[in-house]
Structures are given as structure tokens and as C-alpha cells.
């Protein structure tokens, strides 16, 4: 397995956001993390990316514990993420946004950049070409020199995913990628994620509310409710599970 969540608990003061949750994700799997609002999904993301320290338990990535690593170190291990509300760098062009993902992969020093050493020029050229390739993959290269925040919502989403892929991840965390998109954009996004999984050798862990999207995309889902796992299995089984339906719609059978 590529990612293993080992008995993780997270408390915020007296509130338990996640309670003794364990699951594991297999390589090249598209794994859905679903559940009603406040179920602890984004908290789980923040624990994996190192923004939060788990109160108990640990996260293993390729059998290596991530405990104590800073968020930027975890990215360098091969875990990239997107945000629930798009967070592109607003003053920068689309290309510069993607180039940020290459920050730790460009091999030149501070002084080499000041005096413009040949290595600076060749490395900049290399990462620019790679960035354009990634943008091209998403059909976004024609917007490379536009300001990122001038694009439409759906296009910004693609730039955000392109930017995450620039860090050369093995595991990609997508926080509600289809939020705010119309049905055709959602459909297109699903195709892109499936295609990118094969072309970039990715494992995808995603949070999503759109059950149709989850159903056609995910190989496996984990349903969380108030920080507890209530279901783990295929998405088609999930929507028929009594406990899952109760969590989403309320328990109106025994009223």
C-alpha cells in the first residue's frame, strides 16, 4: 500500500474531529473520502499533509512515518494537494503558478541566480518546458501568460491540479475538486483525473460530495460521520448502505 492511516485520532480542545480512524490506499487507486459536513474529511487531509499533528496514531507513506515532518517536507516526499476553495497565487501568471511546483526541483543556488550562471539558464529552461508540458496536458498552455485569477472557475481548478502535479507527486489529494462546477465541467474533470492517474502514475485520494462523480470515478470509498468510519467499500455499495443513508439524510425509518 502507498498510504496507511493508522488509528488516527484528532482532538481540537474538547471536540474530537477524527476518532480512531484507520484505512489504507493501494497504489494507483482512486480513493474517495466522503461524508456529511463536519465529518472530519478536510481534517484528515490536513493531518496527511502535516498541517495538523494527529493527537494519536500516525500516517505512513510508503511504509515511512510522516510524524514530525513539516508540510513542505511532506510535499517533497511525494504528496501534493489542492484546496477546497481554489488558492492560486493571485498576482502571478498561470505559468508562474505551475513553476512554483518546481521550486524544490530546480537545481541552482541563490548566487547562481544573482549572477545568471549557465546552470541557472538551463535549469529555468528545463522547468519552464516541463511546466508547459503539464499545462498542455490540461489544454491550458494557451493561457500560460494570463493572470491565473482571470480564468474561469473550471479553468482555475485545472491550473490548481496542474500546479500540484508539478511537484511530481505519487499521491494526489483533491479536496472537493468538483465543487462549484457545472455538470459538463464535472464530467470533463472526472475524465482528466482518470487519465492523469495512468499518465502520471498517480494514486488519488479525494474528498467529494457529488455522489454521481464519486460513483463513476472512485475504486473505493470511506464514509466518515462525526469523525468515525461508518463504511468502507465500493461506491455502489456505499449508496445502498443503511448507515450511510442515515448519516446523510437522517434516521427517518424509526421516528
Amino acid at each position: 500500500m502507498i498510504l496507511k492511516i493508522d488509528n488516527v485520532t484528532k482532538n481540537f480542545g474538547g471536540v474530537t474531529a477524527i476518532k480512531e480512524t484507520s484505512f489504507s490506499v493501494q497504489p494507483k487507486e482512486i480513493f474517495g473520502l466522503i461524508g456529511p459536513n463536519g465529518a472530519g474529511k478536510t481534517t484528515m487531509f490536513n493531518i496527511i499533509t502535516g498541517n495538523y499533528e494527529p493527537t494519536k496514531g500516525q500516517v505512513l507513506f510508503r511504509n515511512e512515518s510522516l510524524t514530525g515532518l513539516k508540510p513542505h517536507q511532506i510535499v517533497r516526499k511525494g504528496i501534493a494537494r489542492t484546496f477546497q476553495n481554489i488558492r492560486l497565487f493571485s498576482s502571478m501568471s498561470v505559468l508562474d503558478n505551475v513553476l512554483i511546483g518546481f521550486d524544490f526541483q530546480a537545481r541552482y543556488s541563490f548566487f547562481e541566480s544573482i549572477v545568471r550562471f549557465p546552470r541557472f539558464i538551463s535549469e529555468e529552461k528545463r522547468i519552464k518546458n516541463r511546466s508547459m508540458e503539464i499545462l498542455d496536458y490540461f489544454g491550458m498552455s494557451k493561457f500560460a501568460h494570463e493572470k491565473a485569477t482571470d480564468l474561469s472557475y473550471g479553468q482555475q481548478r485545472k491550473v490548481e491540479i496542474a500546479r500540484a502535479l508539478a511537484t511530481n507527486p505519487e499521491l494526489l489529494l483533491l479536496d472537493e475538486p468538483a465543487a462549484g462546477m457545472n455538470p459538463s465541467e464535472t464530467e470533463e474533470l472526472g475524465q482528466i483525473i482518470k487519465k492523469a492517474r495512468n499518465d502520471f502514475d498517480l494514486t488519488v485520494l479525494l474528498i467529494e460530495h457529488d455522489m454521481k462523480f464519486v460513483n463513476q470515478l472512485c475504486d473505493k470509498v470511506l464514509v466518515l460521520d462525526y469523525g468515525k468510519t461508518i463504511f468502507e467499500g465500493t461506491p455502489s455499495d456505499a449508496i445502498q448502505d443503511k448507515e450511510v443513508i442515515t448519516a446523510y439524510l437522517g434516521d427517518f425509518h424509526n421516528d
Binding site: 499533509t49 498541517n51 508540510p71 513542505h72 510535499v75 517533497r76 501534493a80 494537494r81 484546496f83 488558492r87 492560486l88 497565487f89 493571485s90 498576482s91 502571478m92 508562474d96 513553476l99 512554483i100 511546483g101 518546481f102 521550486d103 524544490f104 530546480a106 541552482y108 541563490f110 541566480s113 544573482i114 549572477v115 545568471r116 541557472f120 529555468e124 522547468i127 500546479r163 500540484a164 508539478a166 511537484t167
Partner: protein, 345 residues
């Protein structure tokens, strides 16, 4: 793509050549007063461009440049003033023996001024960047005050509030202008590299930058130390231009003036910092005629000292009203050319 890079380089080269020619021309043809102002402008370009790196490009609102400039100025003064001149200068208490032995040439003194400022910035970075936003401003403001108080209260080294005098006047337009060109090129090269991109990413969204694998603390520290280095060198040039320095010179007003310059020019724009310097330092000198008696359409007015500052402040307010993000915003000179070609936006 290839052609446009080449063209950019030619334009840059032409700008540098023009600047060098201007320095040469001004040194030979202008009067002493004008050269004095040009020296001031060149030094403030160094300071504003480097201050803009941390405040504008990296978005870390800090208020400490007076501290770094003071460190640079004192280091340079201590290294340049001859031992004989030091002997009779220290009127409050006798200096430490090592103070008398310090001596170096101008280049070494400037480099050491920059080095000590940057070293100080490096040690400060860890405590200072634990806080963000308004708190960072307060912490760095305190640092500026501390440096001034240290300068006053250590007369064995700094001659206290009397300051250092008889600093050899090494600064001339070749030094100030030349170093200004080096500073501008260095800062622009940093901004247009992965380090500059990381700094801008920190400004736009620090958490997203972290999520892209950027070590945000490192990016901030690099910006802070580079900025401190050039502020130290600028302070050294200032000391060797004024020939005497005292702690009062480096109070908060100094930082405030730099802040006006970079906000007026456009936070985050190096071109803007240069334009802001010329307007604020050059403009406030040029407007001196407002303080004197004037003949307006045959009507004689009496001298009105302070009129200059009134007009100057009004102009500042007007500029900020009509250009909210400063004159240049976040744009640079070559962005203007690009936008011009596309027909604007």
C-alpha cells in the same frame, strides 16, 4: 521566445549603459548641489529597492530598515575614521582599545557593513518570522528602536549621541550610482528566479506556497537577509557621503520615508521603488522654491517655511487616491511594454 529573450537583454543593456553615461555626464557637468541630490537619490534607490524585496515582493510588512542602515553606517564609520581622528572624537568616555585599531579600505568597509547587517538579519529571522502580519510590523519596529538606543548607550563604541564625525568622504556618484545599478540588477535577478517566485508565492498565499513544497521560512529569511545586506551597504555609503552620523539620523522617520517611497511607487515593483525614490527624494528638493518668497502674477508673497511639505503631502494623497496600488502597482518596466503592444488591459 528566443528572440524576445534576446530583445529583453538588449533593452536591459541599453538601460544600464544609459545610466552609466548619465553618472559620467552628471559627475562632470552638474553643480555640487545637484550632484549631492543625485547621490542621495542613488543611495535611496539601493535602500528602497532592497526594502521593497521584503515588504513588497515577499509581503512581510516590516519596519526595521533604519536599524540595518544604522548598523551599516556605524560599521563603515568605525572602519573608515582614522585612529588619529578617533582619538579626539570620543568626548563622553574613552573608546575600547579595539575601536581605535579598526581600519579598512572603502570597499572592505562597505562589504563588512552589508555582511554585519545580513548576519544580524539572519539571527533575527527565527524570532521575527514566528509572527505574521501586524505583529511582524510591531516586532520589527521594536528592533529599529533597539538599534538606535544601543547606539546611544554604548559610547565606548559609537560615541553615544554625539555620533561619529570626520568620516572620509569617499562616496561620489560613481560609487553610489554604480552600487545602485548592482543592487537593482541583483534584486531583479533574484525576483526573476525560483527564489523570487517563492517570495511572491509567500506574499500571495503562504499556506498554498507550503503546499507546493516551498520552504516559506527560508524564502522569507533570504529576502530579509538580502534586503539587510543592501541596506547595510547603503548605510555605509550614506555615512561616507554625510561624513558625520548620529543616532538621531536613524530614527523611525528614516523607515517612514522609505515606506512612502515604496508604497508610492507600488509595493512589489522594483521599477516603482526607483520611480518613488526619484519623486520623493528629488521632488522634495525640487519643491524647495515653495518655501521661499514667490512672485505670483506680480503679487509678492512672504516666505512660507513648510509650504513645501504641505504641497508634497497633498500630492502624495492625490497620487494614492488615483493610483491605489501605487504608480506601478506590481508591474515592472517591461510589463508596460508588453501591455502597450496588446493594447492595454
Amino acid at each position: 521566445m528566443e528572440i524576445s529573450i534576446k530583445k529583453d537583454q538588449w533593452i536591459n543593456l541599453a538601460i544600464v549603459a544609459t545610466a552609466l553615461w548619465f553618472i559620467w555626464f552628471a559627475s562632470g557637468h552638474f553643480d555640487e548641489y545637484t550632484i549631492r541630490i543625485l547621490n542621495n537619490i542613488a543611495i535611496f534607490i539601493i535602500l528602497a529597492v532592497s526594502y521593497n524585496l521584503i515588504n513588497g515582493v515577499t509581503g512581510q510588512f516590516s519596519l526595521e530598515p533604519n536599524g540595518f542602515v544604522a548598523v551599516g553606517a556605524y560599521v563603515t564609520a568605525l572602519l573608515l575614521v582614522t585612529p588619529e581622528a578617533k582619538m579626539y572624537q570620543y568626548a563622553i568616555v574613552d573608546p575600547y582599545p579595539f575601536v581605535l585599531t579598526l581600519h579598512a579600505n572603502f570597499v572592505t568597509a562597505l562589504l563588512l557593513a552589508g555582511f554585519f547587517s545580513a548576519l544580524l538579519a539572519f539571527t533575527l529571522a527565527a524570532p521575527v518570522f514566528r509572527v505574521r502580519g501586524d505583529y511582524l510590523a510591531i516586532v520589527t519596529l521594536g528592533f529599529g528602536f533597539i538599534i538606535k538606543i544601543l547606539a546611544i548607550n554604548n559610547p565606548e563604541v559609537t560615541n553615544g549621541s554625539l555620533g561619529m564625525n570626520d568620516i572620509p568622504e569617499f562616496s561620489n556618484l560613481y560609487w553610489t550610482g554604480g552600487i545602485a545599478i548592482i543592487a537593482v540588477i541583483s534584486v531583479l535577478n533574484i525576483v526573476n528566479s525560483k527564489f523570487g517566485r517563492a517570495m511572491k508565492a509567500v506574499r500571495d498565499d503562504e499556506d498554498a506556497a507550503t503546499a507546493m513544497g516551498v520552504n516559506t521560512f527560508k524564502a522569507k529569511t533570504l529576502a530579509f537577509c538580502t534586503s539587510a545586506f543592501f541596506e547595510g551597504v547603503g548605510g555605509g555609503l550614506l555615512a561616507a557621503l554625510l561624513t558625520s552620523i548620529s543616532p538621531d539620523l536613524f530614527d523611525f522617520f528614516f523607515t517612514f520615508q522609505l515606506l512612502i517611497i515604496i508604497v508610492l511607487g507600488g509595493l512589489g515593483s522594483t521599477t516603482g521603488a526607483i520611480i518613488g525614490t526619484v519623486l520623493v527624494i528629488g521632488g522634495s528638493e525640487w519643491m524647495r522654491f515653495l518655501d521661499e518668497p514667490m512672485n505670483i502674477f506680480g503679487h509678492e508673497t512672504t516666505a512660507m517655511p513648510g509650504m513645501r511639505m504641505v504641497v508634497f503631502s497633498l500630492l502624495l494623497i492625490l497620487i494614492m487616491l488615483f493610483a491605489r496600488e501605487g504608480i506601478m502597482g506590481k508591474r515592472e518596466l517591461r510589463d508596460l511594454f508588453k501591455f502597450g503592444k496588446k493594447g492595454g488591459k
